[in-house]
Symmetry: C2
Subunit: 201 residues, 2 copies
């Protein structure tokens, strides 16, 4: 059995989205599988006092430019969403529910579809109506999914997952942990690949 890579991401994070388009292929190249962990940066920012990039003076304007440029540089489809950032707890809960009820592959496929809907098509993926559309397009039981999103058990599970992430010192998105080595940011994929290749860095 191949060892896993832990991939933490927030659905409202552009760099998390960029990472999501590359992480599985990179992992497969080094005989690894990826565990996808949706997290809520809002909950983490409450702890470390950070703010979303685009809300920081000066940095915010640059960040918007960097999102577009980084997407072009890496050949990733991207359109800055009209509403940004957005709450993403329903999207994250939907992913968690799918992990429990449809398996990791379906959950990953849903996460990729949701990221694409938000960062390419500008759709508010936290809105239940839109979650339903994404689920139906994938042939999933959308009613069961929405019920799951609102269930106390799934809310509790996501909260637990975010707490676990914080215990592993995850503070941003994307955040990748391989064999105990942490990598924060899509711009550390070069170092991540070097580590996967040689086992040290």
């Amino acid at each position: 059995m191949s060892k896993v890579i832990d991939f933490y991401f927030d659905f409202s994070s552009p760099y998390g989205y960029f990472a999501s388009t590359k992480i599985d292929a990179l992992a497969a190249k080094y005989q690894r599988k990826v565990n996808w962990h949706p997290i809520l940066l809002g909950a983490i920012f409450k702890v470390n006092g950070c703010a979303p990039l685009t809300m920081v003076p000066l940095k915010g304007e640059y960040a918007l430019r960097d999102f577009e440029r980084t997407a072009r540089f890496h050949g990733i489809p991207f359109n800055q969403p009209p509403t940004f950032p957005i709450a993403t707890q329903s999207t994250a809960r939907a992913t968690v529910w799918l992990q429990q009820n449809a398996g990791a592959d379906k959950a990953r496929e849903f996460a990729q579809a949701a990221y694409h809907a938000y960062f390419v098509d500008g759709i508010d993926i936290n809105d239940p109506v839109n979650l339903q559309k994404i689920a139906e397009k994938m042939g999933l039981d959308a009613a069961a999914l929405l019920e799951g999103v609102n269930s106390p058990a799934i809310k509790e599970k996501l909260k637990h997952d975010v707490d676990q992430a914080m215990q592993r010192k995850v503070f941003g998105s994307p955040y990748i942990i391989v064999d105990g080595e942490p990598f924060w940011g899509f711009d550390r994929f070069d170092q991540l690949e070097a580590f996967l290749k040689t086992g040290s860095i």
Copy 2:
């Protein structure tokens, strides 16, 4: 005459130091010269409410690891200084004084020596005693330099330079502007090179 690259850096910034070891060779590869601009991130952080990386919970611990790993990855000598971050106004003023009184090449050479003293040898480069040693080793008139560092005119010039940087929306270190295109961070050197190569990105 070749067009310039504007390179903004704080002497207490590890990523600024990393950039300082590569920027001139990169520029020369594309027939460019570099204007070195020491800035004071402390003054800028007062405006945008940011804090030094290592003071942010969770992020701080990761940052220390990232400094070391990034240095190894790029083959740059680096030792985390025992005191970090430090005030750098005297070092910045010394650079500005040299720019005015010894020319851009000497000023750059001094900046490189100061960065090396701090990030390799762990020396507090804001301490006048250490500034003097660096200057003497370079064969500069250390007494004149220290007098310059304390002169109202040089203090005013650095303040003016930092204000100018902020007007150009510089908010971090390293920050590079080429033909109006801004690049923040040593980890954008791949995009910076692509821009230098093709004139667009």
